[in-house]
C-alpha cells in the first residue's frame, strides 16, 4: 500500500498543479499510526501529509455532497476505495453529488484494519504498528512490549466481508488488485440471529441497543443518512428524540434508520466502524439487504449510478408481508 500511497500523492499533486482540481479529499496522518483522519487538502504542498495505509477505513464519499455543492467552486479530487465507490454511486443516483465537480482516483485496497480489534486482542498502549513484508502480519509496538497479529484477525468488519476489489466508478485507477473477488459470507451474522428464537433475538438486541448513547455517529457517518435534517432532529416530525430516555427510543431510532436506508445502503460498514459502543449496526442493514435479495432478487445499491432501488419499485407477484412470519428460527 505504500507504493499506492506514493502514487496517489504524486498524481494528486499533478492534478492540483495542472489545475484539474482545487482540493483533495484524502486521509491525513494522525497523532498515531492508526488514526489517519479524513482531510480536505487545499494546497499541493500540504499533500505531503496525505497517507494511505491500513487504517484509512473512513469512507470519503459523503464529504463529496458538501464539496460538490452548487455554490462550491472548483473540482475536488477524492480518493475512493472499492467499497466507497458504491456509496458514491448511490449518492449520484440520488442527485446528491455533482459528478462534474468530482475527480475520482480509485485506490486499490488490501483491507483495512480496526485498531479496536487490535486492542481487543489485549494490546494496550499501542505506540506504533508496522506491516510485515508478507502482507499478512502486523507488528504492534506498545508501552508494555511488542507483539504480532494476523491482519485477517483485525480487519474492519466491512473488510472481513469485502465486496470485492473492483471500483464501480472512477476517473483513474491506482490499483493492482481490481479483479479480486468478494470475501467471506457477509450474511453469516444475520443468519445466526435468524436461527435464534425470538426471545434470544430480543435479548441480543436489547443488550446491544441499550448501550447506545445516541451520539449519532452512525447516522452522521452513514453516506445514505445524508438528509439535510434528520427526522429525529426535527421537532416538527413527531418522532424527534435525543437520548435513550426509554429503551424503546433506541429501537425506534435504529429501526427507522435502517428502514430509511433500506435499498439504499451499500453496506459500506461505516455505522459499525464508528460506533463508540461497538454495536453491530451492520446487522440491521445486512438483514435488509438479505431480505431484499431473497424477496426481490439480488440488488446491490451503488453497483451503478441511476439504479432504481427495490423500495421504489415493485412487481405484481411480490410476496405478502404476513409471509415473513413463516420464516426465521423458532
Amino acid at each position: 500500500m505504500q507504493a499506492i500511497s506514493a502514487k496517489i500523492i504524486e498524481r494528486a499533486k499533478e492534478l492540483m498543479r495542472e489545475g484539474t482540481v482545487t482540493k483533495v479529499a484524502g486521509w491525513k496522518a494522525g497523532e498515531f499510526f492508526y488514526d489517519a483522519e479524513p482531510n480536505i487538502f487545499e494546497t499541493a504542498e500540504s499533500l505531503d501529509g496525505l497517507v494511505y495505509n491500513r487504517f484509512c477505513a473512513a469512507n470519503l464519499s459523503k464529504y463529496m455532497i458538501k464539496n460538490s455543492a452548487f455554490e462550491s467552486a472548483g473540482k475536488v479530487l477524492v480518493i475512493l476505495k472499492p467499497c466507497d465507490t458504491y456509496s458514491f454511486n448511490q449518492l449520484l443516483t440520488e442527485h446528491r453529488i455533482d459528478r462534474e465537480k468530482v475527480y475520482i482516483i480509485g485506490a486499490g485496497c488490501e483491507g483495512m484494519c480496526d485498531i479496536d480489534r487490535v486492542r481487543a486482542l489485549g494490546f494496550k498502549g499501542i505506540t506504533g504498528i508496522d506491516e510485515k513484508g508478507d502482507g499478512k502480519t502486523l507488528v504492534v509496538h506498545t508501552l508494555y512490549g511488542d507483539g504480532e497479529v494476523n491482519i485477517d484477525d483485525v480487519l474492519v468488519n466491512k473488510c472481513e466481508f469485502c465486496k470485492g476489489k473492483a471500483h464501480k466508478i472512477f476517473d483513474e485507477l491506482i490499483s493492482d488488485n481490481e479483479d479480486e473477488g468478494p470475501r467471506g459470507d457477509r450474511f453469516e451474522g444475520v443468519r445466526a440471529l435468524e436461527a435464534m428464537s425470538p426471545e434470544e433475538r430480543f435479548a441480543f438486541w436489547q443488550g446491544e441497543l441499550s448501550k447506545c448513547i445516541r451520539c449519532n455517529a452512525c447516522r452522521n457517518a452513514c453516506p445514505a443518512c445524508s438528509c439535510r435534517k434528520c427526522v429525529f432532529d426535527n421537532a416538527a416530525s413527531g418522532v424527534a428524540s435525543k437520548a435513550n430516555t426509554d429503551s424503546f427510543e433506541e429501537k425506534m431510532f435504529h429501526i427507522i434508520r435502517a428502514f430509511h436506508v433500506a435499498g439504499r445502503c451499500t453496506d459500506c460498514g461505516e455505522c459499525t466502524r464508528v460506533c463508540p459502543q461497538g454495536i453491530p449496526l451492520h446487522l440491521f442493514n445486512r438483514k435488509y439487504i438479505k431480505d431484499i435479495d431473497e424477496f426481490y432478487g439480488t440488488y446491490t445499491a451503488g453497483e451503478e449510478a441511476g439504479q432504481r432501488g427495490p423500495l421504489i419499485t415493485f412487481t405484481q407477484e411480490d410476496r405478502e408481508p404476513n409471509s415473513v412470519s413463516d420464516k426465521g428460527g423458532n
Partner: protein, 349 residues
C-alpha cells in the same frame, strides 16, 4: 490514617456488603463494552479495564433525567416536582481522570444557582477511586496536573499484587470504610510499604513513556488572547472532516451541555434533561438561524470552551482531564490533542 485492604478475590463480598445498604455503581460489562451500572450478584469487577465508554460522570449527571412533570386540563396546569436523589450510593473504581472530571462538573453545577439534582447525587454518592491500571497511549492526564497514582476522591485505592488497598480521604470515605469494618481488613502496612510504593513506581515509569507525556497547555487558558485564538485560520482544516456527531461529547468526562425536552405520554408531560452536544447542528438553531451555522464554528466552540472559555470562567482550570476517550472514539480520528498541538504554544510549533 492507615490503609484498609481486601483481596481482589474477596471483592464480591465487599460489593455484597455495600449492596445490602446502598446501590454501588461500578464498570460493568455489557455486550463487550464497559459502562457504569449498579452492581448485582454475579457481576465481577475488571481491574484491568482502563476506560468505560461513558465516563463516570454518568452516575452524577445521567444522560437523561426527569426534572418536572406537568398535567394540563382545560386552562389549568399542575406541576409535580421530581424529587432529587435521596439515597446514599457508592461509585467504585473511578480513575484519576474521571475523578478530576467531577471537579470540572462541580464548578458548573454547584456554583450559584446550584443544580439541585446534581448536588443531591454528589452529596449522596461516595466515590471510591482506584489508581488506573496500565495507561494507554492516548492518556495525557498529566498535562492537566493530574496525579494518576493518587486519584483522590472519598476513598482512594490502589491495587498491588492482587490486593486492593484503600485509604479514606474524606469523612464520607471514612464512614464507608467504617461500615465495612468486618469485610476490609486493617493493615499495618502504611503508604510507605514496599508493595504499595512499587505499584506506583511502575505506573510512573509508564506515565513517563507515554507518547503524549510532554503535551502542555501553553497557548491556552485564561491568559491566552481569546480573539487571537478564536480567529486562528487552522480551525478550518482542523474541522474539515468533523462529522458533527456527539461521540466526543458523550464520552467526555467534562462535557456538561444539556438540552431540556418534553415528552408527552398522553397522560402527563415529562420535562426531562438530556445530554446535548455543541457539535450538533441544531444546538444553537433558532427560528431565524444559528450563530454557529457551520461545523467549523461548532467544532471551534467545543475546543474553545474546554481550553479557553471554561478557564476564563473558572480561575484558569481546564475543562479537559486528558482521559483520551475522544482520541479512541472519534469516528474520524479528530481530537483535542490535535487541536492543542496545532494551535498550542511554542513547545509544539
Amino acid at each position: 490514617m492507615s490503609l484498609k485492604k481486601i483481596a481482589l478475590t474477596e471483592l464480591d463480598r465487599f460489593f455484597s456488603a455495600i449492596a445490602l445498604k446502598k446501590k454501588i455503581y461500578l464498570p460493568v460489562e455489557k455486550a463487550g463494552q464497559y459502562d457504569y451500572a449498579p452492581w448485582e450478584p454475579g457481576i465481577t469487577y475488571h481491574p484491568e479495564v482502563l476506560h468505560t465508554v461513558k465516563s463516570a460522570k454518568s452516575v452524577f449527571f445521567p444522560q437523561s433525567e426527569d426534572l418536572v412533570r406537568y398535567k394540563r386540563s382545560g386552562l389549568s396546569l399542575a406541576i409535580t416536582e421530581v424529587p432529587p436523589e435521596d439515597e446514599e450510593f457508592v461509585v467504585f473504581g473511578v480513575h484519576a481522570c474521571d475523578v478530576k472530571g467531577f471537579e470540572v462538573l462541580d464548578r458548573v453545577f454547584l456554583s450559584d444557582p446550584v443544580d439541585t439534582f446534581y448536588k443531591a447525587r454528589r452529596e449522596h454518592g461516595t466515590v471510591v477511586s482506584v489508581m488506573c491500571p496500565q495507561p494507554e497511549e492516548t492518556c495525557f492526564c498529566e498535562t492537566f496536573g493530574i496525579d494518576a497514582e493518587n486519584p483522590g476522591a472519598d476513598v482512594q485505592a490502589r491495587i498491588c499484587e492482587g490486593t486492593l488497598y484503600m485509604e479514606a480521604l474524606t469523612g464520607k470515605g471514612e464512614a464507608l470504610l467504617e461500615e465495612l469494618g468486618g469485610i476490609v481488613a486493617e493493615t499495618n502496612e502504611g503508604k510507605d510499604s514496599e508493595a504499595y510504593a512499587k505499584a506506583a513506581e511502575e505506573h510512573k515509569k509508564i506515565m513517563e513513556k507515554l507518547p503524549l507525556a510532554g503535551l502542555t497547555t501553553d497557548g491556552f487558558g485564561a491568559e491566552a488572547d481569546l480573539l487571537t485564538l478564536f480567529n486562528r485560520p487552522e480551525w478550518k482544516e482542523l474541522s474539515s472532516s468533523c462529522l458533527g456527531c456527539g461521540t466526543c461529547t458523550y464520552v467526555c468526562p467534562t462535557c456538561q451541555c444539556y438540552d431540556i425536552r418534553e415528552y408527552n405520554t398522553g397522560k402527563d408531560i415529562r420535562r426531562f434533561r438530556v445530554w446535548d452536544s455543541c457539535m450538533y447542528s441544531d444546538f444553537t438553531m433558532m427560528a431565524h438561524g444559528s450563530p454557529r451555522p457551520d461545523q467549523l464554528q461548532r467544532f471551534r466552540q467545543r475546543f474553545m470552551h474546554k481550553l479557553k472559555y471554561y478557564p476564563d470562567n473558572y480561575e484558569g482550570a481546564f475543562s479537559c482531564v486528558g482521559c483520551g476517550r475522544c482520541l479512541q472514539k472519534c469516528p474520524v480520528s479528530m481530537n483535542i490533542v490535535k487541536v492543542m498541538k496545532t494551535l498550542g504554544g511554542a513547545d509544539h510549533e
